[in-house]
């Protein structure tokens, strides 16, 4: 008998260890054992509690679980948790309102290209300034490589360069690795200037948040003029979106007939928590700059 109990003990201990490490849903059987134990001990424990109350009565006004520090601690923890949830929910409501505003702005914009706005949260940011950024939407949400990201409906921020199922990598317009961008410059007080008459410029990101390009010195360009994208390598939905404003016009010493303009986007990805991805609908998809899948 003793021999067999010696042999059983290691198995029992291993089983106990397995139960100890098992998740809560696998420990349902313990409820039955506990219930049986409570059933047996219950009447005697009640008597014991009465004896305990008699030996050491609870202070007046503090009877019941309020007198139990563990219970009070539990309540305090619950209160703290609810406060945390309240703050988190408030932040969520604010974020949703912000997203809604962004989506409404896109919907109200005059767009000839049917697009589906998709609000994406900015996730992991690159450690370098104006580096790539991970957005919280991926191919499962219809995002595709080349999809453009906007802020306040018409401000172009950049485009998607990589897509996974649940997220995508976004390259800001001002990223140094971004390709050259063709754009037109519209005088700030004559925004209705036909594109055929507007000065054209090829902008190159410099990595400091600005884009630079050379323009004909004869073109009248001033600081504050609006620069809009007009580039065949970008999707139709991006055409005409604002790249930024002319920050300065500098004369180019090596080429006396040309000026260098510095364009600064109004919004940088580092300033925003959300962007709106403009996803072109299937029937309007064209190949330049990527197409929906």
């Amino acid at each position: 008998m003793r021999f067999s109990s010696q042999r059983i003990l290691p198995f029992v201990l291993v089983l106990t260890l397995a139960l100890c490490m098992a998740p809560g849903r696998a420990l349902g059987v313990t409820n039955l054992l506990a219930e049986i134990m409570n059933l047996v001990l219950g009447p005697f424990a009640i008597a014991g509690n009465m004896l305990g109350q008699w030996l050491r009565p609870a202070p007046l006004g503090l009877e019941g679980p309020v007198n139990d520090p563990e219970y009070v601690l539990h309540l305090q923890q619950e209160r703290d948790e609810f406060e945390r949830l309240y703050v988190a929910e408030q932040a969520k409501v604010d974020a949703l309102q912000q997203q809604l505003a962004q989506a409404q702005m896109i919907a109200s914009a005059q767009m000839h290209i049917p697009v589906r706005p998709l609000v994406a949260r900015v996730g992991v940011r690159s450690s370098t300034p104006h580096g790539t950024v991970t957005l919280s939407r991926g191919s499962n949400h219809g995002v595709y490589v080349g999809a453009v990201a906007a802020y306040n409906a018409v401000h172009l921020l950049g485009r998607v360069i990589e897509v996974s199922r649940l997220q995508c990598v976004f390259q800001p317009l001002a990223n140094k690795d971004s390709p050259l961008v063709d754009a037109i410059i519209l005088p700030r007080d004559q925004r209705d200037t036909p594109t055929s008459r507007a000065a054209r410029v090829q902008l190159q990101p410099k990595g400091d948040g600005t884009l630079r390009g050379d323009v004909d010195r004869a073109a009248i360009i001033n600081a504050g003029d609006i620069v809009k994208l007009l580039d065949d390598t970008w999707p139709p939905a991006a055409q005409g979106m604002i790249v930024g404003h002319v920050e300065s016009v500098e004369s180019k010493e090596s080429e006396p007939l040309r000026n260098t303009i510095v364009v600064r986007p109004q919004y940088h990805i580092s300033q925003v928590a959300y962007v709106t991805l403009k996803l072109e609908m299937e029937d309007s998809a064209t190949q330049p700059g990527g197409a929906p899948r």
Partner: protein, 185 residues
């Protein structure tokens, strides 16, 4: 060891542990109560044969695991006490040859060491489980859990002086073999 005596005494001590211990609770230092069941386990570990000790400790630890938890959960975590008591019993088994078993101070000291061993193993198991299952009932942090158990161990060691003495009075009924030296401090 007579298992019938073990069953009766264990039943009484567990009832005391789960109900009357409130009388001995020290609210000013974290509402700690002495672990009378550990005193009993230590007492058994001092006199009973090796396998009997380990089984008895496992049963007593299991009972403690199945006792109502401090936190509301729809399951009972079996193991920290069951395994911890076995570990503690094993420790006492190794130490009992070096001590005067029927001294009150021996019971007190070994109860403290028994619960210290339980604290180490139980905290380790709870921490390990908490690492991948956050619903594990850990007292704040691993350090918090260990600190709480350490305080209980100290208090139980003190409580084991009178309680151990009471148990020593019953030693004749248990049917232990050996350990027949005289009682004393």
């Amino acid at each position: 060891m007579r298992w019938s005596v073990f069953a009766i005494v264990s039943f009484i001590v567990i009832v005391l542990q789960l109900s009357v211990r409130e009388v001995l609770t020290l609210h000013s230092i974290g509402a700690i109560s002495p672990d009378l069941v550990a005193c009993l386990a230590t007492f058994i570990a001092l006199f009973a044969p090796r396998t009997t000790v380990l089984w008895a400790c496992w049963l007593l630890g299991l009972a403690m695991d199945l006792a109502p938890a401090a936190r509301s959960m729809n399951w009972h975590l079996v193991g920290p006490n069951a395994l911890g008591y076995v570990f503690g019993g094993y420790l006492v088994l190794h130490m009992r040859a070096m001590v005067f078993r029927r001294r009150m101070l021996t019971t007190a000291l070994l109860t403290f060491l028994f619960l210290l061993a339980v604290a180490v193993l139980a905290t380790f198991l709870l921490t390990l489980r908490h690492w991948y299952l956050p619903d594990t009932p850990l007292h704040g942090s691993p350090l918090g859990e260990f600190w709480l158990r350490l305080k209980i161990a100290l208090y139980s060691g003190v409580a084991a002086l009178p309680f151990g003495w009471l148990l020593q009075l019953t030693v004749a009924f248990w049917g232990f073999t050996g350990g027949a030296s005289r009682r004393g401090w």
